[in-house]
Symmetry: C2
Subunit: 245 residues, 2 copies
């Protein structure tokens, strides 16, 4: 049982492309590759260097003499296509297909994704053996992807559907955010100096100016260290170590 979709390359022409596809699989934490009649035979030493960190994928790859043989133990198979064919089939985006992969695998099914030969793509007979198609929405003026890039987008979407990375985070290198007390003391410091310098002298504008200044600094959280730095800046502007000439 594979807990990941199995990537099936049908008649890949160049060993280099098998290698770069393996690398892209490894980027998305996919590890099972099947090769249907690779043109240059298998194993192919030309695949190794382009696989970079993904050589473990190559080492586990299996070779099959036909698409039927490569998919016979699977329960649901997608095929990737760039072109529309004269057949009635369901077409999914990579993102939705990745969700379905997770759903079907969680229910105990084996799922595969077929990729065709570099120049021609999959033929209609191969497409008629699968449950659904994946078509990558791309610039209609130029939808051509090389094999590794097509594999990368599927592996990437698989990983995004699996990984719950927050869409935004503040990388503080482990430092805590400042407390509101620290931030308010910084504002008191800044506003006190601005009052002394006359920056806030127009009384009816003062409240609005203060709010706008605070909003500049509160757009994103500040760390305690950053608040200390800002206070040091104010002190230094008011009272330089070296009197300005």
């Amino acid at each position: 049982m594979s807990k990941n979709p199995i990537i099936i390359l049908v008649k890949p022409q160049l060993g280099e492309n098998i290698g770069t596809a393996a690398r892209a699989m490894h980027n998305g934490a996919l590890n099972q590759m099947r090769l249907v009649s690779p043109k240059a035979g298998w194993p192919n030493p030309k695949a190794i260097k382009p696989a970079a960190g993904g050589t473990s994928v190559l080492n586990q790859a299996t070779v099959h003499s036909s698409v039927e043989d490569a998919i016979k133990d699977l329960n649901f198979v997608f095929a990737t296509t760039a072109r529309r064919r004269d057949m009635t089939q369901s077409v999914f985006t990579p993102r939705k297909a990745a969700e379905l992969c997770h759903e079907y695998i969680a229910k105990g099914n084996q799922v595969g994704v077929l990729f065709g030969p570099e120049r021609t793509g999959l033929n209609n007979d191969d497409l008629s053996r699968v449950d659904a198609l994946i078509n990558v929405p791309l610039n209609p003026d130029y939808t051509s992807l090389n094999l590794a890039q097509a594999v990368l987008l599927i592996a990437y979407e698989w990983f995004q559907a699996k990984e719950k990375t927050p869409e935004e985070s503040l990388d503080t290198s482990g430092q805590d955010f400042a407390s509101k007390k620290e931030v308010m003391e910084f504002f008191d410091h800044l506003e006190g100096e601005l009052d002394r310098g006359g920056f806030l002298r127009v009384e009816h504008m003062r409240p609005n100016m203060i709010r706008n200044i605070r909003n500049i600094f509160q757009r994103r959280p500040l760390t305690s260290q950053e608040v200390r730095t800002l206070r040091g800046i104010i002190s230094n502007l008011v009272d330089p170590y070296h009197p300005r000439s």
Copy 2:
């Protein structure tokens, strides 16, 4: 004014990588590339063939002597990084960053995305010139992407955020779905023959069997042509052209 994010390659080492990056940009309908001090000079004939359909991107590319010069007219700049640095910055997924690109550009801002040299990535000084980072969530055991793949994922997410492709569609090559009348007549035909053949002979199981059979065929819409084909299959099974031996 660019209506798309501008892709800025900082000190790219190989012309081939500039070409494959241009191709990936074109896949995602990005067209403005800026090159900061490309190592092998510019223009570079080695970029042309790898650019494939993306040569228009190369033709429009501009060369800059520094990151400052390449970003001075922009309003918001992202930088792509694979590694965490010892700096406090906002980090976005490519998906969220693509949404922000759309939002900021719609408000009239110019947005750019910086990519570092192939081997080293961007240095901390360059990162300190940008508003936010983009980090691609990938297999923690192997996050290394080549330049064109990193550009592809940004261009892909930009295009997904822009393009409202339905996540699932049924490609019927322009044929209409069958009407419910056609489908019901097909069920009448099938169930009539199964009654005659004795398949539905156990009376208390009959309603459930019929519902289950209907559900096999109604999982996805059928076209009128497919319904006619299914009826032809029933007729042929019941009454073959050539009597079976």
